[in-house]
């Protein structure tokens, strides 16, 4: 297996253009090997999810350069291992799948067959596009690490004393199942591609036009679903599918900053509503004149955390402040934190009641029958860590307490994840990205109009639509950039 992996990476290193494209195209919908033939201006047009129509029109014919047999990585296996008898054995016997004449997915990529417009119906073009997708998906799933992790988990699962600790065993078998599922899905997709290629070759040999067009059509369908799988692979993180809390905190600078914080919060509320997520305000501290000092919302729905985690950091606004009578230009900051709400309660940090201090927040006067207020805000402090959570938007103290507890639980869970990540180096990278303090995006309303992400350099010139919640392109650019950047690290 290792030798195969070696071959695969050596293939990549032999192919600088291939490599460059993985880096260049942040959206990486498909990194077209041919696109370097294009004038640079055309490259800028690449838009996530737009397909490859314009490329195809400019590049027909270039597929002729490659020969099917020039690279045959796993030729020795040909015939022995064909599509039908490939199996996953418990120990992950990874044998590179190939067509009957030894063509592998990497082989297809190495051919650099031109990727034409979907409608062109050329099988090599489809195959090449699909192979590129598979390559990208594997990278996003951190394929090598996935294999190592799976082997580790398999070893643990095989231990007879596994179920002595049922909680841990459950965790391990769940993770194993989930990773196995991901791997099988990609493998099956790979296999399907190679089977269709086999069928096409067979059909050609037998002059069966029906069979050939059927198989080409199947490849075309695969090419479409490959795009979806690429997106899915962006959100393959352990907690990506969770709901989450989004917190916004105004920076220094008084009313102008607080107004900015409320604009940011509104942006997320609108983004979440567009996606059909449930939005609940958990905690909101309004500013004296306008805006908010801080606020927490709960975003309920699948993959809310997976997307929203891309928003963590400091957001900067430059504009003429409506709160400045002298009409000067101001720069304000708002910090955003995103906390996953772990669905699996067995992974929650245990909280001891005795470690909690629960206080009526903003309570004054003698209380009880003296006062009739609908304000029943509660603040909970976890004494050992000093972490607090507040909720005042529910209609009863009991519910405020329950909501605040949920926030506290999520914060403690996140703290625990960070602690474990420090012990478990492989998770460190993703978690350092979920932290405060780093400026991630600038919104300029004056003297020109632009929103620019400082991590990806992605920018748009329409701040209004962004502030109305149209942040998906920023999120996807960042997610693909952060997953696709390390060529050697997958």
């Amino acid at each position: 297996m290792s030798s195969l992996l070696l071959k695969r990476s050596s293939l990549l290193s032999q192919n600088p253009s291939l490599r460059r494209h993985f880096v260049t195209y942040l959206f990486a919908s498909l990194s077209q090997p041919q696109s370097h033939h294009l004038p640079p201006s055309n490259r800028e047009l690449t838009v996530p999810g737009s397909g490859y129509g314009f490329l195809g029109k400019n590049n027909n014919g270039s597929s002729l350069i490659s020969s099917e047999t020039s690279i045959c990585l796993s030729g020795s296996f040909s015939g022995l291992i064909n599509s039908t008898n490939f199996r996953f054995f418990g120990s992950l016997a990874a044998v590179e799948p190939s067509t009957s004449d030894g063509l592998t997915v990497d082989g297809i990529i190495a051919h650099q067959w031109a990727i034409l417009d979907e409608s062109e119906g050329d099988w090599k073009s489809h195959a090449s596009a699909i192979a590129q997708s598979i390559h990208l998906i594997k990278k996003r799933l951190q394929w090598k690490k996935l294999i190592v992790r799976l082997e580790l988990l398999s070893l643990q699962i095989d231990k007879p004393d596994l179920w002595d600790d049922p909680v841990r065993a459950g965790k391990i078998s769940r993770e194993h199942g989930s990773l196995m599922g991901k791997m099988k899905e990609v493998k099956a997709f790979e296999q399907e591609l190679l089977e269709h290629i086999d069928m096409i070759k067979l059909a050609r040999a037998e002059n069966d036009a029906d069979l050939e067009s059927e198989s080409v059509k199947a490849l075309f369908e695969m090419r479409r679903s490959a795009k979806e799988k690429e997106l899915d692979a962006l959100l393959a993180g352990e907690h990506d599918s969770c709901s989450c809390f989004i917190e916004v905190q105004a920076g220094a600078g008084g009313t102008e900053s607080m107004d900015w914080a409320s604009m940011i919060m509104k942006m997320y509320k609108m983004w979440a509503q567009r996606h059909g997520y449930g939005v609940t305000i958990v905690d909101e501290m309004p500013g004296e004149m306008a805006g908010i000092k801080r606020a927490t919302i709960k975003v309920d729905g699948e993959y809310a955390f997976g997307y929203a985690k891309a928003e963590v950091g400091v957001h900067r606004l430059v504009r003429i402040s409506p709160f400045d009578s002298a009409k000067r230009r101001h720069t304000s900051f708002a910090a955003v934190a995103v906390i996953p709400i772990l669905g699996d309660t067995s992974t929650h940090v245990q909280i001891n009641e005795s470690d909690l201090r629960i206080e009526r927040f903003r309570a004054g006067g003698p209380g009880g029958q003296h006062a009739n207020t609908t304000e029943s805000a509660v603040r909970i402090t976890h004494i050992p860590t000093g972490i607090t959570a507040t909720c005042q938007n529910e209609r009863s103290q009991h519910q405020n307490k329950a909501s605040a507890m949920a926030v506290l639980q999520a914060r403690l869970d996140q703290l625990e994840m960070a602690r474990q990540a420090q012990m478990n180096a492989e998770h460190t990278q993703s978690l350092t990205e979920i932290s405060w303090g780093n400026q991630i995006r600038t919104y300029v309303l004056h003297p020109y109009r632009m929103v620019k992400d400082l991590r990806t350099n992605y920018e748009v010139s329409d701040p209004d639509s962004v502030l109305e919640g149209d942040i998906d392109s920023f999120v996807l650019t960042y997610l693909s950039a952060s997953l696709d950047k390390d060529e050697h690290d997958w």
Binding site: R360, A363, Q369, A371
Partner: protein, 378 residues
């Protein structure tokens, strides 16, 4: 209580703007022989009134402006709601009054095409104007405006004549829950009493944590409270577990003397001469009967304390809400001296604001009588 002019539009429901005399505490008159019919909370009324979104927005903007005009004037006057809180209440009123409140409450609702959309309301638009005006100008409590109070995980019907249950009181249910789920599991299956139940809040909260054999008797002197409590008990389908009785304190419990395993109460505890100085929502609108605890506010607490000695089984638990530290201490003092040996494990429990709020303890068992001095000091 149905003093309003019947409106055909509300058919089976009594008018939401019924004109109970807010200044009049619900003292018993000859009318009390007729069982009062409780009001249906706004959120449970059928959404039979239609109005366009743009008309509704007009009302919402008007209501917001009215709430903003308050600023912090109220707070300065008597520690009552500020604009932020009133805006939050307005959103809750929208939640309760609209079948689909989303367009008014979410940020996406700015689409101009929707302005003609027909919205279904649980009250006439005119009533909503009137309700909110009375909230701001007359300081009518929000809970009376919408006819309900969210308390713990319950939504309880309330109306003029019934004390609106307070957040502090929620803690009594927590205390009982901890008790019956902890070392005192035997109390789960016994008979409990909630005296001066008002809306039935404590009785229902406790009824829901008791076991299959656990029962609660709730009493109140006010026929309106009895009717409202019975309505709330029905809404939570606890009529087999909770019995509501009309009468003063222990009077309706004569036949269960010495059989109670638990006794809870949030009796009137405000000293009489403080009543007029209370926040307008309380002083002008809530029933004096449920607030006025006599000269030092202790009349009813002492009565309860006295009654508890004979009504509770040995080992039975009690929890009383008080006005604060002073009353807590004097109640504990009373138990240590006047009713020496009757109680043990007497303690003062603070609410979430850090105010000493509750006095709890157990009826002494005969064999611990000799130890009462050590018990009581805890």
């Amino acid at each position: 209580m149905r003093l309003g002019f019947p409106r055909p539009s509300l058919s089976t429901f009594s008018p939401i703007l019924f004109h109970a005399n807010p200044g009049r505490p619900n003292t018993c008159s000859s009318k009390c022989l007729i069982q009062p019919k409780p009001q249906t909370p706004l959120f449970l009324r059928p959404p039979t009134h239609s109005v366009t979104l743009s008309e509704l927005r007009k009302w919402q903007n008007w209501a917001k402006t009215l709430a903003s005009s308050v600023g912090s004037n109220f707070i300065d006057a008597d520690n009552s709601p500020d604009t932020i809180l009133l805006h939050r209440e307005l959103n809750w009123l929208i939640e309760d009054a609209l079948e689909n409140p989303k367009p008014l409450l979410t940020q996406l609702g700015t689409d101009c095409n929707d302005e003609g959309m027909v919205m279904n309301l649980r009250a006439e638009l005119g009533d909503l104007y009137e309700l909110w005006k009375r909230r701001i100008e007359e300081r009518r409590p929000f809970q009376y405006v919408v006819g309900c109070e969210h308390w713990r995980d319950l939504v309880l019907s309330v109306e003029e004549g019934v004390l609106i249950p307070r957040p502090e009181t929620e803690l009594i249910v927590d205390l009982v829950t901890d008790l019956v789920k902890g070392d005192h599991g035997e109390l789960r299956e016994g008979l409990w009493a909630d005296l001066g139940t008002g809306s039935g809040a404590l009785a229902i909260g406790i009824g829901r944590v008791l076991g299959t054999c656990g029962r609660v008797i709730a009493t109140d002197l006010s026929p309106v409270a009895v009717a409202v409590a019975a309505y709330n008990v029905q809404r939570y389908n606890l009529q087999n577990k909770i019995e509501i009785k009309l009468g003063s304190w222990f009077e309706p419990l004569k036949d269960v003397k010495g059989q109670l395993v638990g006794l809870v109460s949030n009796p009137p505890y405000i000293p009489s001469d403080h009543i007029s100085g209370l926040q307008a929502e309380v002083a002008k609108h809530e029933p004096r009967l449920a607030l006025d605890g006599g000269a030092d506010g202790m009349d009813d607490l002492l009565h309860l304390c006295h009654g508890a000695t004979s009504m509770l089984k040995p080992g039975g638990f009690f929890a009383f809400e008080t006005n604060g530290e002073k009353q807590c201490k004097s109640l504990v003092h009373y138990m240590q001296n006047e009713s020496k040996g009757s109680f043990c494990d007497v303690s003062i429990v603070s609410d979430f604001a850090g105010k000493q709020r509750f006095v709890t303890g157990f009826k002494a068992r005969p064999f611990v009588n000799n130890l009462h001095t050590s018990c009581i000091s805890s």
